[in-house]
Amino acid sequence: MSLRITCPNCGPRAIEEFLYGEIPEVPESLTDLDARDLDRAFMRKNPEGPAVERWFHAAGCRRWLTTRRDTRTDEVL
């Protein structure tokens, strides 16, 4: 079965209806402003495991929702 995301407005829908949105995270330990800018522009957490992320329901209600997804299995938790 294809992967599904449950939209609070539209119910469970195929993942292809959604656009992925990333939540940028710059580590607190970075204090130098240039280093923070570089990190925000390019560096990625790219988590291997459960990740909190945003999805835009492009083919549905056209609203953003927040999910927790395991990137090792693609399943929404």
């Binding site: 294809s2 992967l3 195929a14 993942i15 292809e16 656009l19 992925y20 580590p27 240039d34 570089l38 990190d39 522009a41 390019f42 560096m43 990625r44 957490k45 790219n46 291997e48 990740a51 992320e53 997804r69 990137t71 090792r72 299995t73 693609d74």
Partner: protein
């Protein structure tokens, strides 16, 4: 076919030692090629390659085996041309038949903008040593008679760039050729040996932790595909990498010859024929980051639909099997090779959807860097530091898969 066909590849497995001059993490094409060139070109044979599964089990065994150098920027054209040249001589050098075959590659233009882009590609390629020319629809039909030049009435073929040196090789055999060649020189390859941590001494990386114990090393090289962010984070290093799935499929046997490799940036698919006669198709990466090897029906449906636009004959073929690899995508669609800013830790990553074609050149150049301590000019532009220096190598249009 030739004198290599009948020869059996022989591996010599060794017991792990507690210390090596160089430890390479990742037993795919890039890791094994780096070990091979360290041993054969620089005489550094006290080397171990650690692979958590079996060699070539990651993206080296999951790609679509295309070799080409028709990139859009000078740095990439020069680097990939080196790889095309090394691939062409690989059978002679290693004595292993890797089923290398020059096929020619057509990169289709369906719009006025596409025509300009392919003309520009031909110019840049010619200027920096790759053999690419612009061809008209009539010439395309001669190279590839199966094509529907009307593009189903939706994507008419207006021209293409033809890259004569476009080739393919059997991916497993490339992995085995480098593994056997390295082992002959005394390199150790340890399968089923996952790296669980990196050993730090001050600011320097001095070894790796595995389930079987720790191994100290003069230099640690990450040649990991798919999970590089996890490995780099053990060294406290953040990377500009996102990992995405890339899917591909093959059809059953097509009885005619389909000579060239065909790619279309507008239609977002590429196709070639395998040595067994199957049609091999791939498309773009999945949008969301993922480490899963799951394949999906949505990809099959959309990729097959686009392929039929140019190749109606495929209507009669059936899909035999599909599979997935996980690709480390860099923000500028160019690889990242070289120093990391951490002593004793080297990296070759960001191989996204273009890693297979770069195996020999990537290995050769990384070996030179590790042996001499100096970044060779060919890969100097691909450093990790480029992102902080406003020297990104944006070449999305040549990735072919996005």
């Amino acid at each position: 076919m030739n004198e290599f066909v009948e020869r059996t590849i022989k591996f010599t497995w060794q017991k792990p030692k507690s210390s090596y001059d160089v430890v390479i993490v990742g037993g795919g094409g890039h890791g094994l090629a780096t070990a091979y060139y360290l041993a054969t070109r620089h005489g550094i044979t006290n080397v171990a390659v650690l692979e958590r599964n079996y060699i070539g089990s990651g993206n080296s065994g999951r790609n679509t085996t295309i070799i080409r150098s028709n990139y859009g920027i000078p740095e990439s054209v020069k680097f990939y041309q080196r790889s095309v040249d090394l691939y062409a001589g690989l059978e002679q050098e290693t004595g292993v038949w890797v089923m290398h075959r020059q096929k020619g590659l057509l990169w289709m233009a369906h719009t006025e903008a596409g025509v300009r882009a392919e003309r520009a590609r031909a110019e840049v390629n010619t200027a920096f040593g790759a053999k690419t020319e612009y061809v008209t629809p009539a010439q395309i039909r001669e190279i590839c008679p199966q094509i529907d030049l009307r593009g189903g009435g939706v994507w008419p073929v207006m021209g293409a760039s033809y890259h004569a040196e476009g080739a393919s090789a059997r991916h497993d055999r490339v992995v085995w050729a480098f593994a056997e060649g390295a082992m002959k020189q005394g390199v150790h390859i340890h399968q089923k040996t996952a790296v669980t941590g990196l050993i730090k001494s001050g600011d320097r990386i001095t070894g790796v932790e595995t389930a079987a114990g720790s191994i100290s090393a003069g230099a640690v090289v990450s040649a990991v595909g798919g999970h590089v962010t996890t490995l780099a984070s053990m060294a406290g290093l953040r990377l500009p990498i996102r990992t995405h799935r890339l899917q591909a499929f093959v059809t059953n046997h097509y009885a005619q010859e389909f000579k060239p490799i065909v790619a279309s940036a507008n239609l977002l698919f590429y196709v070639s024929q395998t040595a067994r006669g199957e049609m091999l198709l791939g498309a773009e990466i999945d949008r969301q980051p993922s480490y899963s090897y799951r394949s999906g029906h949505h990809f099959l449906q959309s990729c097959a639909f686009r392929a039929l636009t140019l190749f109606p004959f495929m209507r009669d073929l059936r899909i035999l099997r599909q599979w997935t690899g996980v690709c480390d995508m860099s923000p500028d669609y160019s690889p990242i090779m070289g120093l990391t800013g951490i002593d004793g830790f080297f990296i070759t990553t960001g191989w996204g959807t273009w890693g297979f074609k770069a195996i020999p050149a990537g290995g050769e150049q990384m070996a030179e860097l590790i042996a001499t301590g100096k970044t060779p000019p060919l890969i100097a532009p691909f450093s990790l530091a480029r992102f902080g220096q406003d020297r990104t190598l944006a070449d999305r249009g040549s990735a072919g898969t996005h």
